[in-house]
Assembly symmetry: C2
Homo-oligomer: 188 residues x 2
DNA sequence: TCCAATTAGTTTCGACTCAATACTAATTTT
DNA sequence: AAAATTAGTATTGAGTCGAAACTAATTGGA
């Protein structure tokens, strides 16, 4: 019964976020899905900046996403560059114009004002509750997590020697582990 | 800084919910926006079951919504009927087929399994935190609340004599006050 | 009382999203 | 070396969307 209540509020909140995202994008001539792709690309790590990853993140087909990315490129919000090692792969990098817009979008629909009165301990609790819901939903529906490395079970903290990704064995900086990864998995 | 974290998780959660909603609707030949309208109509009260209210709820123009509703009617998910008092107004009532589908959709993306391990006190806290975020976001962006009557400042509890809406002066049943209202306003 | 303004809803149009399908090219597997 | 897989693009048709023009009912003044 209580879960139903939480459901409704969450649903409405999602709706509202989407409304604002739509309105924001419209002001800059971008469709909601284009804004979302751009935002993702400013937040993802170097393993996750491909059209395929964007498609997985947004839950759309790669054909659909390909078109949106084309528009973003034409409008100068991102650049495409072929990968050096695997020439099938396209790397997507937001331009300065693109990342500025994404930053502005994030700021506009920040929870900051809405959380202003809430103390930081409560916010931490809220975040962890939301995270556990997210994890649960992803498990139930078999979706990828797309979390940041610092919450990933493959991320290894080698203390003074920094962080290492257990999948690629590559070292990760403090900034790296804040980014979204398509290979992300929560601890068991 | 912590608000940023909550933001990200919430964003991803919204994304995921939308992906599931899309996938669910697709299985029944309905577009996401049509599912949302149908779901709204099974949850709203008798002041809020019009095309205009649906448009406000979804943040779309009435022209756009009019088309979606036409499809829903053609496919037999809802019925339109003219209002008796004001003949401009169209009342939208989900058919049995429609409300069954909406129920199924709600069940499919219920938070229940994700919250299974969480105790009910925590869930109540989570809900109230989400509600305060929702309220904050609505204030910041000047949107309507669309909450249920029991959280509305116009709702009067006359104890043994039941509930009354302070706007319409109409009596409301225990079921009524669980429904979504377009006139909803949180207490000051 | 009657005409203007407002309100609820529909229709039409053009730009755009989206899934499905078919396609190219690079890489991996056998 | 051929077959299978993987990453991405192009095309097509159904459908969303906002804007604008429209109808019809109601309200509000003079």
């Amino acid at each position: 019964m209580s879960a139903q209540e939480a459901n409704d509020v969450l649903e409405r909140l999602c709706n509202l976020q989407r409304m604002e995202a739509r309105a924001f994008g419209l002001r800059y001539g971008l469709q909601p899905v284009q804004m979302e792709a751009l935002t993702y690309l400013t937040q993802c790590n170097r393993y996750s900046n491909t059209p395929q990853a964007v498609a997985e993140y947004l839950g759309l087909t790669k054909g659909t996403v390909s078109q949106s990315l084309k528009v973003l490129e034409q409008k100068g919000f991102l650049r495409k560059q072929a990968d050096n090692e695997d020439k099938r792969i396209v790397r997507l990098a937001p331009t300065t114009k693109g990342s500025n817009l994404a930053k502005k979008a994030l700021f506009t629909r920040s929870l900051e004002p809405a959380l202003a009165k809430t103390d930081s301990i409560k916010i931490a609790e809220l975040t962890s509750a939301l995270r556990s819901i997210l994890r649960g939903m992803q498990q139930v529906h078999g979706r990828k997590a797309f979390g940041a490395c610092h919450t990933c079970r493959f991320n290894e903290n080698h203390e003074k020697n920094g962080y290492v990704c257990g999948l690629t064995r590559e070292p990760l900086s403090v900034q790296d582990i804040q980014l979204i990864c398509r290979e992300h998995q929560y601890p068991h």
